[in-house]
Assembly symmetry: C2
């Protein structure tokens, strides 16, 4: 695999001097067009042999291009903030918005490769990460990203030569660290691993490009030209089209009207006295659980979805009443902000993940993709169909990191909703709660029923189960929510 | 995940009697159109709780439809033939051709799930299989297959009831085996595993469809209707389009003319006397290696690619001269047969894989996809781009099963090729070897150089390395090939 990168590719000084101004101009033009139209983000990974000039390559690109819309991320040790969240969080927060370029040197590949080469972790360990990365990059690509992964290669001899040359000059001596020489010792062990990783994770939508890095000029020119052609090509063909569907959606619909929502018992209720008693009981339990030392390494994520006027806000307030206000956040999810619109749709949820020991309550959530966006046709069929898998991956990674995920669908009957709408219209201080959109959504009741049932079927799991809450009685619903959270916490802590 | 399938879905007798004739007619129509146009194959997986009626469902579909183009495969114990080859071989050989329907009950999922649930294999073991299956199904989908995966679900209580009912009647008693009752004991252990598997492997192109199987009529009707809608929908939208490319191909081209083929030393040669001596030596070694008891559990797969007139045939004959004629096969790869054309492109190579202890020599190979098909534009860009990964997967699975894979590119210079073409034209008994196509290929020399270099870069690995053979001297080339095979075998046995 690395044979091509040991052929002694070079660029002579004169050619380099001649080419660079042309390449820079073209890159700046492409960058300008990218920034104007914002059709996609560009994600560059610069990996390779230690000492092959990853940092210099990133610096060169930064220098050549407009620094306002290209950003390099040297991923060193994780910060406290980052350690408190799933491993991919630190990459998510640095994803370039559409119209810009992000360069990662030391990417998601670094950690599991190092653990495998130096830390004694086995092949299975590495491969599990690689499969996660393939899914992650596929999601990015399907969200529109242009992904280029460079592997800068040096033969062992050339690596040694390079380190010696750097060491021999006073002004470059500081470049060479102990770690670089350790890299030489590990070289023979590293190469077959790198080969495996590149082979396994080189896909049509996120290919590895091996670049011989012996000659700096060749290396820089090749990376620059590849980047240029990739951006120009994608600008020309107008971005990503939705994937064609291989299974027609209609085929996945259920045949009869029997469904999870219809099977709930909406007459369940609780009288005021019993409610007050149980509220005190469960809020007390919850409060105690949150102060448990065991919760310090965990986090709690609650997701509230439900029919309009089903009482999400009221239920949420009964939870937060039991929490320390420094330890939780409520994330109300409305239309995405400008900043969120230029990122993959899961980005805005990643950024709101709680640190360990903390709680985030999502009032509406990532499930919007398979609910409102599906029903209203805000995204292509193929987009919401792939979302089930992406959401499962997302919840799996947050759960693996210790989050306890509770998801609630607050369900009321159509008649109950109508009564509540009418009441809201009639009551001054509640009128603001009712919008034209609520009435429009009501017209699509059956479409929502189908979307909710599919959602629960495809995303309820042991790790992150859905709880359907019969919410015609607000008292009953609030207690069921509190009780569910307490029981989940008790089981997990 | 299985909540939806415990709602007590039923279909009453009258409705069933009324619906079946209509459904059958529509299914037969769809099947007829599918068979006429042959736009895609249909792959049905029928999995689920033991005792939920997987076999009966398959039987029902067989009974409803035209049995000539629907085939059920109950995957029981592997045959000797199958045990001698990679695990997926038994599925590949049964893949339905385009225009037909294949039903697998007991699919690729069964074995690793059973090993995990009953055999004590861990989560990593299971997940590694699942990731292989995701790639496999994605490849099938991208090759055009319509894939539906049914999971027939029964609650534990209903499972017990069903077994008791069957046992209580003389005519159905034989249905119930000891294994079925073991399934009841394992039920609670199995369900979370099934949930994990379904969640992980339910993709937009190969979704799982959970069907409540308590009521046979509901089960049959749901499976039948889903199948109908899926085929009708796909017939209507005219099959699979090639995937959009997220990275433009031009960006992946190398910038300079330095390449692996240009870097070979074409002056390497061997005189006749030395050739004769070494030929004897290496054929002797090869013959001995093949008779090694250690080879009994392995197999040898040689791949020959190269420029036209580079001497592939001659090199192959020098290998087979050292082999027992009962132990090897030569597979010359020309245009696919009718039977092969209606299958995924790798199918015709899977079918030719040697049993353990045997050898297959491919004279041209699966690399046609990234060579001639790429250069001639016989397939879409996205098709040959994804092929690198698919080929790597393929070679990984055959290597893991014990195959020793040697891949040779026989390289001659353009001048040498011209001389050989001219000689062939002038020599009566060689004239048949030269076709107009050879001359046409020669005009695309540079395109082939690029394709070969990309191929080597993207598919040479420790498991299945490419050997570039300088073949201007036939003697030299033949010895290098023999020597390489001997050394690989010595290292592996």
């Amino acid at each position: 695999m690395f044979e091509t990168a040991e052929l002694g590719h070079t660029v002579d000084k004169a050619e380099y001097k001649d080419e660079i101004p042309k390449l820079r101009e073209a890159l700046l033009d492409a960058q300008f067009e990218l920034g104007q139209k914002k059709p996609f983000p560009v994600i560059l990974i610069v990996s390779g042999v230690n000492g092959a000039g990853k940092g210099e390559t990133a610096n060169t690109l930064n220098f050549w291009m407009d620094p306002r819309s290209i950003h390099s991320h040297a991923m060193g040790e994780a910060s406290d903030e980052e350690l408190d969240r799933p491993a991919m969080w630190k990459f998510w927060r640095r994803l370039p918005p559409r119209g810009t370029i992000g360069i990662f040197f030391g990417s998601w590949y670094s950690f599991p490769m190092r653990e495998h080469i130096e830390g004694g972790k086995g092949q299975d360990y590495l491969d599990a990460y690689l499969d996660d990365f393939i899914r992650f990059e596929r999601m990015l690509a399907e969200e529109g990203a242009l992904i280029l992964k460079f592997w800068l290669h040096l033969s062992k001899d050339n690596l040694k030569k390079r380190l010696k040359t750097l060491e021999s000059k006073k002004e470059t001596k500081w470049h060479v660290t102990k770690r670089d020489w350790e890299g030489v010792d590990l070289y023979d062990k590293m190469i077959p691993v790198a080969e495996h990783v590149l082979r396994r994770t080189s896909t049509a939508h996120a290919p590895w490009i091996v670049v011989e890095a012996t000659d700096e000029k060749y290396r820089n020119l090749t990376v620059g030209r590849t980047l240029l052609k990739a951006i120009q090509g994608r600008l020309k063909d107008g971005g990503v089209k939705p994937l064609p569907l291989s299974v027609p959606v209609e085929a996945l619909e259920h045949g009869d009207s029997r469904n999870l929502l219809a099977s709930l018992d909406y007459t369940l209720e609780l009288d005021k006295k019993e409610y007050a008693k149980q509220l005190e009981l469960y809020q007390g339990r919850l409060s105690k659980l949150m102060r448990s030392p065991k919760f310090k390494d965990r986090s709690l994520i609650c997701v509230f979805e439900g029919n309009d006027a089903a009482g999400k806000g009221g239920a949420i307030r009964r939870i937060t009443a039991a929490l320390d206000s420094r330890s939780y956040d409520i994330a109300p999810i409305a239309a995405p902000t400008d900043e969120e619109k230029v990122q993959p749709y899961l980005w805005r949820f990643w950024r709101k993940l709680p640190r360990t020991g903390h709680t985030t309550i999502f009032d509406r959530s990532w499930y919007g993709r398979v609910l409102v966006e599906r029903v209203e046709g805000f995204c292509a069929k193929s987009d919401w169909l792939r979302a089930y898998g992406e959401i499962n991956d997302f919840e799996e990674s947050i759960s693996r990191h210790g989050a306890i995920v509770c998801k609630f669908w607050l369900a009321i009957t159509s008649e109950e909703q109508l009564a509540r709408f009418n009441e809201r219209e009639a009551t001054g201080y509640k009128r603001f709660k009712l919008t034209d959109e609520d009435w429009r959504n009501r017209d699509k009741w059956d479409d929502y029923v189908r979307a909710v049932c599919d959602m629960v079927e495809r995303t309820s799991s042991e790790l992150a189960p859905w709880t359907l809450v019969e919410a015609n009685s607000k008292y009953y619903a609030r207690i069921k929510v509190l009780k569910t959270i307490c029981e989940r916490l008790e089981a997990q802590l």
